[in-house]
Subunit: 328 residues, 6 copies
Amino acid sequence: MNILAYGEVMLRLNPPLYKTLMQTETLDMYYTGSGLNVMAGMIQNGFNAKLLTVLPDNNLGKAAAAAVRRLGISSEALIFEGNHLGIYMLEMGYANRPSEVTYLNRTESAFNQHLLSDEQMAAALKDVDMLHICGIALSTSEQSRKNALRLAEKAASRHISVCFDFNFRSSLNTDDERAELLSAYKTVLHHAEIVFGSTRDLKELLDISGKTADEVAARFMSEYQVSRFAGTIRGQDKQAKTIKGFLYENGTQFMSAERQVHILDRIGTGDAFAAGILTGLLEQWDGQQTVDYATACGELAHTTLGDSPVLSREFVLDYMASPTDVKR
Amino acid sequence: MNILAYGEVMLRLNPPLYKTLMQTETLDMYYTGSGLNVMAGMIQNGFNAKLLTVLPDNNLGKAAAAAVRRLGISSEALIFEGNHLGIYMLEMGYANRPSEVTYLNRTESAFNQHLLSDEQMAAALKDVDMLHICGIALSTSEQSRKNALRLAEKAASRHISVCFDFNFRSSLNTDDERAELLSAYKTVLHHAEIVFGSTRDLKELLDISGKTADEVAARFMSEYQVSRFAGTIRGQDKQAKTIKGFLYENGTQFMSAERQVHILDRIGTGDAFAAGILTGLLEQWDGQQTVDYATACGELAHTTLGDSPVLSREFVLDYMASPTDVKR
Amino acid sequence: MNILAYGEVMLRLNPPLYKTLMQTETLDMYYTGSGLNVMAGMIQNGFNAKLLTVLPDNNLGKAAAAAVRRLGISSEALIFEGNHLGIYMLEMGYANRPSEVTYLNRTESAFNQHLLSDEQMAAALKDVDMLHICGIALSTSEQSRKNALRLAEKAASRHISVCFDFNFRSSLNTDDERAELLSAYKTVLHHAEIVFGSTRDLKELLDISGKTADEVAARFMSEYQVSRFAGTIRGQDKQAKTIKGFLYENGTQFMSAERQVHILDRIGTGDAFAAGILTGLLEQWDGQQTVDYATACGELAHTTLGDSPVLSREFVLDYMASPTDVKR
Amino acid sequence: MNILAYGEVMLRLNPPLYKTLMQTETLDMYYTGSGLNVMAGMIQNGFNAKLLTVLPDNNLGKAAAAAVRRLGISSEALIFEGNHLGIYMLEMGYANRPSEVTYLNRTESAFNQHLLSDEQMAAALKDVDMLHICGIALSTSEQSRKNALRLAEKAASRHISVCFDFNFRSSLNTDDERAELLSAYKTVLHHAEIVFGSTRDLKELLDISGKTADEVAARFMSEYQVSRFAGTIRGQDKQAKTIKGFLYENGTQFMSAERQVHILDRIGTGDAFAAGILTGLLEQWDGQQTVDYATACGELAHTTLGDSPVLSREFVLDYMASPTDVKR
Amino acid sequence: MNILAYGEVMLRLNPPLYKTLMQTETLDMYYTGSGLNVMAGMIQNGFNAKLLTVLPDNNLGKAAAAAVRRLGISSEALIFEGNHLGIYMLEMGYANRPSEVTYLNRTESAFNQHLLSDEQMAAALKDVDMLHICGIALSTSEQSRKNALRLAEKAASRHISVCFDFNFRSSLNTDDERAELLSAYKTVLHHAEIVFGSTRDLKELLDISGKTADEVAARFMSEYQVSRFAGTIRGQDKQAKTIKGFLYENGTQFMSAERQVHILDRIGTGDAFAAGILTGLLEQWDGQQTVDYATACGELAHTTLGDSPVLSREFVLDYMASPTDVKR
Amino acid sequence: MNILAYGEVMLRLNPPLYKTLMQTETLDMYYTGSGLNVMAGMIQNGFNAKLLTVLPDNNLGKAAAAAVRRLGISSEALIFEGNHLGIYMLEMGYANRPSEVTYLNRTESAFNQHLLSDEQMAAALKDVDMLHICGIALSTSEQSRKNALRLAEKAASRHISVCFDFNFRSSLNTDDERAELLSAYKTVLHHAEIVFGSTRDLKELLDISGKTADEVAARFMSEYQVSRFAGTIRGQDKQAKTIKGFLYENGTQFMSAERQVHILDRIGTGDAFAAGILTGLLEQWDGQQTVDYATACGELAHTTLGDSPVLSREFVLDYMASPTDVKR
């Protein structure tokens, strides 16, 4: 099974554990991005994965490519052009102190400035079984939006499954942009078989109403002919924050148990969940097994450093089977 | 608003997270001190602050001054003389393991050896609206005690509000010293409008009795003509340690809710609370708002590294309004 | 009081806090081993301790010896020969994520290849009051098994108390090896006065049955003429993992309260417990005091880095008397 | 004496000593920029200095401001706006291996996007004796060029000395830009009393010819009514790289001896030289003393980390008087 | 062009710059090995390269594979089996202080214990133009020797160029082993077209005599039908250590100039030279250009951390064309 | 052979390589002191060594003791009392940039405040063959001076060789102190058989005149009945700093060749030389061999981190025999 993601690679820079930017003289580096993270998850789950992205054509772009390969992701679809890479600073919280993200210029990144050619798309889609697109690419630049739409179309026309992650942040867009964005979302959704998101996204962005979450999801899946819709619900019980996964699959809803999360590094946990869901689908597990596994992936991703999943499928399954203090 | 603190700057040296002195080959450096911490808190709260202290006239003193400025505190009242800076070693605990402090020679520090001149005091007090004095200065040396007393007097005579932090540790003093100390405390208290401490301090040091904490506080405030008395009460419920802030303000008591604390770095949390209270007073918030805010400042200060507050007023207010995992 | 341990010293290498092997470019070093850890605990408890082990005759062996001395353990019984030191990699977990151990070649280590001479044994046993042997030495190589058996015999014949730690991992052995191992265990047990283990060990390895844990322990102690049998029971209540210590002493069972553990570094906590028990015995504390103290030692060992105990007897006693946030 | 610089603050990120970007997982942070560096040098030389620049209005901008203050530079003229800070990556060379700089997006930085208001300029120029402008500001954006030109004009009209650093890199500009750039350079030069650069700059950019360097410099100084022109000549003798400083002062040329440089960190050494020259002028040293001192500043700046000078005037003078191994 | 190397991957562990093992608590990790290093060099030179090796089937093996990919080397021929990876400790020298290597157990490594199957060899050799074998594989174990011999044979029979690196250390072998070793060397040499080594190797191991180095080389190349023989001669002039490269190519000798080396990290410099020679051959440069380039590669490899080349072909060519302090 | 040193242990704190105090947030720790360093050297040279010193009776004192043991020095003569340890900050230079030392309070250290009892001295001197005293102890406090004098006397009366290191810094003393100091020096010298120093010391402190260095040394040795006088002469040739060792032994002068030094860490190099001389004496090498070896020890000590020698006798001898790049 070969999976391809289209998405931006950014450089995450964070002060060492728990320091703030004003306190630090060093930064830890992680190359990240939703597509990268989901592909890293697919590798940990035992699949082949490659990433279609644009990296700057300089030493930093080379270093980013090395990081992509290090995760096990194929670098054959990487494109080198331009000279800027998007960067965000992360000040990691502790316990109840939230982490804080500071974005630096992202619009001028190589990824957001480059229009993919038909040849680049065709080469990337070769021998691919599934394409993953993240909604962020629809809003970061006109170029990335166009790229995403054309890719989704080309994939659909080649009968490659399209998997789409909403990743919609309503606060980031003006009303004008919103109209354009909505149109782009609708276009991609019509090509998508599998969608990640929340019912809030469905309501807020797509204006789908319903009395219950189930009803909203059902209407959405019917209207857009989406066969699977999955996501996580985050809560807070008395003692701790929690996560609960859901998966709507051809008319049936599967819910994981609600699990406590212990946050070391919050970012990328949704991507680990998504890779878990895709694993269940590709392995043809039943829906309950799939959502339980994906939720465990997401839960454990809170406890590892960096945005990309780093725990193997075997590790997660062992953890689900019998939690221990030390694995020998 | 311009606030001035008089207090010792020490060098805190701690092994990297969770190591002991015997296990380490490196030490993390933080310049600290109660006055410095409260001023750093005032800066985070959006005020101007300066520090009157004596630093050694060598490269370490210069580095300390750089750290003071880095926090945003004005260095214009710093005095450079002598060659020693007080140092304490901190072995940071984890969860139920307490942190451990080892003091090195402090008596011979530049701060504790230097008698301030009238000119130095006058220069420091220029354009100042509030003076903060920490009780520790009353006990670390004869020089620092004399400096503190004269400063309080001069401030009062110039109608600068005096704010005093008890910071009394009964175990540190012999009976003889105690008499002298008591007299010094009483002198400063007579100049103080705002006092930080606990009712235990009032009972133990000042011999004020009463059936309830309220009664003790009321007697103290009346006897010493103190308009505000504030502090924190630390507890332990089944799951975790807790903090609760109180503020007696002209006859009314305000209490925050009891909040769980998650300890990353315990030291300096009372100073963050104090800066929160002063912020409320200077902003003329009502008592409840003030004590809630100050308690949130203190609570969050347990989750940041170093003794000085590093979270902005905006961060704390956002946290109080709606706690999240990641602030973007 | 002079205690000697016979046991392998290994090099533990772990990525900095919470990273995985694939994420790291640096490793933290700790020299470890059950015998080393128990001796380090005895030092923290105020006794003299030395270690009989074989280290490679090269710079790494010298560095290991320096680490032994640094812990306060006498290096006079160290033997330098060969060129390999056993190594294990530790990826430290966080909260519910288990730590993961990867062993590298251990069989070829200097310790596991070297047969001790009579002279080496005699020199090591000189002036020794108690000998500690760990069951791991019975299974890592034929040489180490022979060494352990001869040492136990020699110690017993000199009326030196033999203390034995089961440390049996049934999964590690084939049936054939098991027979040989069982025979070795029985031989050592016949020389042992004090034994650490679990009733599960007694059942699984020694085939001792009984309706209750008490009955199993009683039969074991009677059959093998063991005067003390101690260990920990690990549990999980709703909120956290727990530890409870037990000590069977000449017919009486002493149990500690069940205590929550907060895991920073899980490895070596049983060794800290063992050193706590031995301390109680050597100090002639009563059984309850002994098991309470040992359990506190084990509980706190979860919160310190490295496998060897690093908290002094005074620190543990203070902690038991009144837990605080900061010890000054 | 109060000196003001107008210039961009960038974030320099470099892998730890001698690693490449592809080899590293951490980056060391230094806030830098020619104006910042010269001001840091003025502080080390005992003057007051402030910086007029635009920092992003976010946590990174605040951290940059803290770094400015830490160096001793006044932060009162800092402006916070926008959300991007220019960044460059530095891979530090070793011995004959050159260091390598990779610029990320700089055009969109807060500094390069913001037009200064008259009020902002007036506030910054208050009580200033000298203004330092770096030629880089003339080419990084239209906004920064306009700011620089208006500032130079305003300063000149207030009889504030203008000091200008050529910093021209011919390779960075197209022919079109060059014309505009040349015009901007000429405008600033007409306001400048002190200029830093090389005779190559004079020839390449200003088209000033002459048989010897002296002749070129003389013509330039006469044509533009510049009273002082200074710079360094870098060479290579058999054993090592060298530096030699020159200063043309009202018709006289002063040259330092040629000194070997030992490169730890190459960047910013010209800024240290410039601050040395300005120091001599402000202290009214004679030309030879001035150029010798400035050259020693530049020479030593090769041996310190970061782009900003960190050695005090006293340190440099001691070094010139009698080099030792250890200063106690 | 596709190049394959067969060789062991080891883990190099070194204390941070200039510390000794006894002084350190952390180790820097580099995955290394002669085959790995030469392939990393080929990647830097712009070719495709893969590595045939055996890594342990555990987390350390996975981390090693990630490091291989990070360097750009294809991981498709990696084999995972066993559980041990060879390790060596490196204490890095400074200036005249030599570095010191301490080998730990290598014989039991997955690489040295595994016999490659015909299928594994065939898969690895697919589409390969050149095979690189290092002489070390002939002496580390019987299995690795057999693997190397069979591979050389298979490659030769498929008309894949065989490139062989002597890497002979006479001191490491007993006389008995030497006979066997000699026979193995001779077998591989008969398949080799390109050989790296020194004339001392030819004399000591192969007993080839001659009045001059040229004569020895000529006899060797004729007897073994080797078309190219290359290596470096290391010297010491008054000021510094030096390197000079030679290349015998079909009867002509090419020598580089003698170049000073500045040692930051000595290990792997010969591998960088070898990759430089192979680059010249594959690019059909003339002999002089080839040996000059390779020598520059080797010279610069002394100034980078780790055993594998990290500087690109472009960087080296720029350096040869015009050395600078900073490349922008 | 058992050697004892009496001397202060200090904590050296230095920013990571090449940073200044103002630039750093971490400090590297080394426990140091002339006596400690010479004893560490004796351990590296294969002798038994112990240290008589006073450490604070707190966690820092325990950590210092652990560091003493780690070096291989016996901790049996350590005394724990008081609560302060002398500290100095070291900013490490690079190439021509000198290192800079900043002393913090030393007078109040446990070592300088404690008068040794007869029992403590007797216990420390038991089974000792040689006593090393450093001149610094004569000037840091009255207590340490008295201790040193009494110890020298007791050692002499027990026929233990006394070895004395001048370590005189004329600039540190007022004229009054100088008289007292001179008297103390004379007293110790009368007990000393072996003295380290420079002929400048002899002239400046003892007022011994002579036309040549030889004459001065001869007069000194005769007047004070010293059998050996040794030291180093530091120079500077065109390219580098140099060191040359001398040893006057019963009327004969031995001089080493002049050797270039490459400075990584300058401090403690004289102590390494002293340990080299003592090694030659104890091994009864002839004078030339002794001074050559000691000079190589001193030379190499410039290339290692920390003040204490860390290279073994074997390493130094190998280096003298044949310098290489890498020792395997």
